[in-house]
């Protein structure tokens, strides 16, 4: 049955439903029992201290402990912020990503890392990371970037049931976004299937995470100018639904990619590379990337707002693709 939820409640519902469904699911992280970010509210009362673990500030230690637990049959969920993942990179990269392949398929690691991206709110350089491109560069992770409550819930549920290491990049700028969510198995959202929240015929905008609502606003604005924009939300970056993107570009001939992460070697770069190689003859204009400027995140709002994509920047890029 569908109901309305905000993004962070949808995450909470996913965890609740999957912990109820499967005893091997447990969650660990810093300050999750008191749920300082809201996503783990009520878990302690319902599932107890054994399955809801507050950890010391030891990311490398407990990210790795999640891996070890997953190897012997548990399904851990780890809550963290993107910026704390740097502290645990050895466990993420040397172990989580590589273990299965390195051991010839003997290791199965059903572990989920939920990493919130807090950016755009004056958190400055140490707390504003949007690090999914760096993990896309490392084989071994499934990478999810939900932009709606429905996908935040559905992708997380699918990730918990998946048997490989998954990283869910939860977009803090969308924490209060409202939308419809389903319950139980009906809520599951498959990996590798893009969403097309708006159909159009002139220009394709592929938007990632927090850029999705910006792209939709830009599309509305451009419609007033008689420009029809198709918005694609890949929802998962690994695996990436490239056929939906290529089919859209075959129809529109024009592509803008909106990505809140740094623009060099980014998800946007990868999508541009795929389309330039596999959809080259469909293109009628250069591909435009609207990604974060290649600079650290400044604290002061007057500078910070210059860094990220915006609906204005996306609309401008769309217009560029339409220039003769």
């Amino acid at each position: 049955m569908a109901s309305t939820a905000i993004y962070v409640e949808a995450i909470n519902q996913a965890i609740m439903e999957e912990m109820e469904r499967d005893q091997s699911v447990f969650i660990m992280g810093e300050d999750i029992r008191r749920s300082v970010y809201g996503a783990t509210a009520g878990l302690l009362d319902k599932y107890g201290e054994n399955r809801v673990l507050d950890t010391p500030l030891s990311e490398n230690g407990f990210f790795g402990a999640a891996i070890g637990a997953s190897l012997v049959g548990m399904r851990p969920i780890v809550e963290t912020l993107t910026s704390f993942m740097w502290v645990a990179m050895d466990q993420l990269v040397s172990q989580a990503a590589k273990m299965r392949y390195m051991f010839g398929g003997q290791a199965t690691l059903p572990v989920v890392y939920r990493a919130t991206m807090f950016y755009g709110g004056g958190s400055a350089a140490h707390h504003s990371d949007r690090s999914y491109p760096m993990f896309m560069n490392m084989p071994g992770f499934k990478i999810l970037v939900p932009a709606t409550p429905r996908d935040a819930k559905g992708l997380l549920k699918t990730a918990i049931r998946d048997n490989d290491p998954c990283i869910v990049f939860e977009d803090g700028t969308l924490g209060g976004a409202t939308g419809e969510v389903e319950e139980g198995d009906a809520a599951l959202v498959p990996f590798g299937v893009a969403d097309v929240p708006r159909s159009g015929s002139d220009v394709t905008v592929v938007a990632i995470a927090g850029a999705v609502p910006m792209a939709l606003r830009a599309a509305e604005e451009l419609e007033e100018d008689g420009v029809s924009v198709e918005v694609i939300d890949p929802r998962t970056l690994v695996p990436l639904d490239k056929s939906t993107i290529l089919e859209s570009v075959a129809k529109t001939g024009r592509l803008v990619i909106a990505d809140p992460a740094h623009k060099v070697c980014s998800a946007a770069s990868e999508i541009a590379s795929i389309v330039s190689q596999e959809g080259f003859w469909d293109l009628q204009a250069p591909i435009m990337k609207v990604a974060a400027e290649q600079v650290h995140i400044p604290y002061t709002p007057v500078l910070e707002r210059l860094v990220y994509p915006s609906s204005e920047k996306i609309a401008d890029a769309v217009r560029v693709t339409l220039e003769d």
Partner: protein
């Protein structure tokens, strides 16, 4: 000693000889160019893994490090599959994808060796966490060196394990050197086992050349773990006879130890120590000890032949084993 069965003692000697012959043959065939890549001989340290693993069941877990051949063989891993892995063949433990530093056999609790120093310490801690959450009585043991004892991963894991009373045995193989750096130059305490006090767990200093002492110390730590009394740090004092890795002697500039020191440790060779115990106690004769050595040398020869005859993987196997739930290639 009175509480150690004859069967157990003989098995320990067998596994120590198996590791010794395995490593000697690895050095020979590597020097002959039969396979390439890094390998780190465990010669001189056999009593540590063998004594410790003798205290475990197949349902218990181990994880290890780059000095990686002794641990799986000590836990009962297949010598043929281990050798075939070093040769990069399909019959290797990891189908040729892991090599020397990543031997693993999940079917008997060997959760894999790790090439990054201290990186498997959190992983083993997590296996122990699963035991606690599920209320089961298996334990987890992790082998790491004196060098690894300085890594944050080690300290974070020890704190977690003690905080949560996890059944994990932190087994520090202090072989005196991290590549060329003496632990006296890198560790702030006299003994690495002293660090256990900082995490409110027992720290035990053991003669790592004595397999029986290793077995007894580990057995006690395992019993604590199974009883829900938490982790133990065991420091095994041992010695690496060979260079850090095969071939390093050819490129290294500058000495870091004397022949006198090596000879001194060789005088207490772990195999000699156990054989002395077994023969003086009348458990085995000299001839029986020699027969064990010969049998294990033959087993290693067979493993080398097995590895040589095992095929290399096919090119289409490149992408296999990436995913448990496969996704399309990018």
């Amino acid at each position: 000693m009175e509480n150690v069965s004859k069967e157990k003692l003989v098995q320990m000697l067998e596994r120590m000889w198996l590791i010794r012959h395995f490593e000697v043959r690895v050095m020979e065939v590597h020097a002959a160019g039969e396979f390439t890549g890094a390998a780190h001989p465990y010669i001189g340290e056999e009593a540590v893994a063998v004594g410790a693993c003798a205290a475990l069941e197949d349902t218990d877990y181990i994880a290890g490090n780059h000095r990686s051949h002794g641990h799986p063989l000590a836990k009962g891993g297949s010598v043929k599959r281990a050798m075939a892995e070093l040769y990069g063949r399909v019959d290797g433990y990891c189908k040729g994808k892991g090599g020397s530093m990543h031997l693993a056999d999940f079917s008997i609790g060997i959760l894999g060796e790790s090439g990054i120093v201290a990186s498997s310490v959190p992983v083993a801690t997590g296996a122990a966490l699963a035991a606690k959450i599920r209320g089961e009585d298996f334990v987890s043991m992790v082998f790491f060196g004196d060098g690894a004892s300085n890594q944050g991963a080690c300290h974070e894991s020890m704190n977690l394990a003690a905080l949560w009373s996890l059944p994990v045995i932190f087994l520090c193989e202090n072989n005196q050197f991290a590549v060329t750096t003496s632990y006296h130059d890198s560790v702030s305490v006299e003994h690495i086992s002293d660090r256990a006090a900082a995490y409110n767990m027992p720290g035990v200093l053991v003669d790592g050349q004595d397999a029986v002492a290793m077995y007894e110390a580990t057995r006690e730590a395992v019993a604590r773990g199974r009883a829900g009394e938490g982790p133990t740090l065991i420091e095994a004092l041992t010695y690496r006879y060979e260079e850090h890795s095969l071939g390093l002697g050819r490129v290294r500039r500058g000495e870091y130890r004397t022949q006198g020191q090596i000879d001194e440790w060789r005088e207490r060779d772990p195999i000699d120590v156990l054989e002395h115990t077994l023969t003086t106690q009348g458990i085995l004769t000299r001839e029986e000890c020699d027969a064990i050595s010969k049998a294990k040398a033959d087993e290693v020869d067979e493993a080398v032949e097995f590895a040589r005859n095992s095929p290399y993987p096919e090119p289409e196997e490149l992408y296999d084993d990436m995913w448990a739930d496969p996704i399309p290639l990018p």
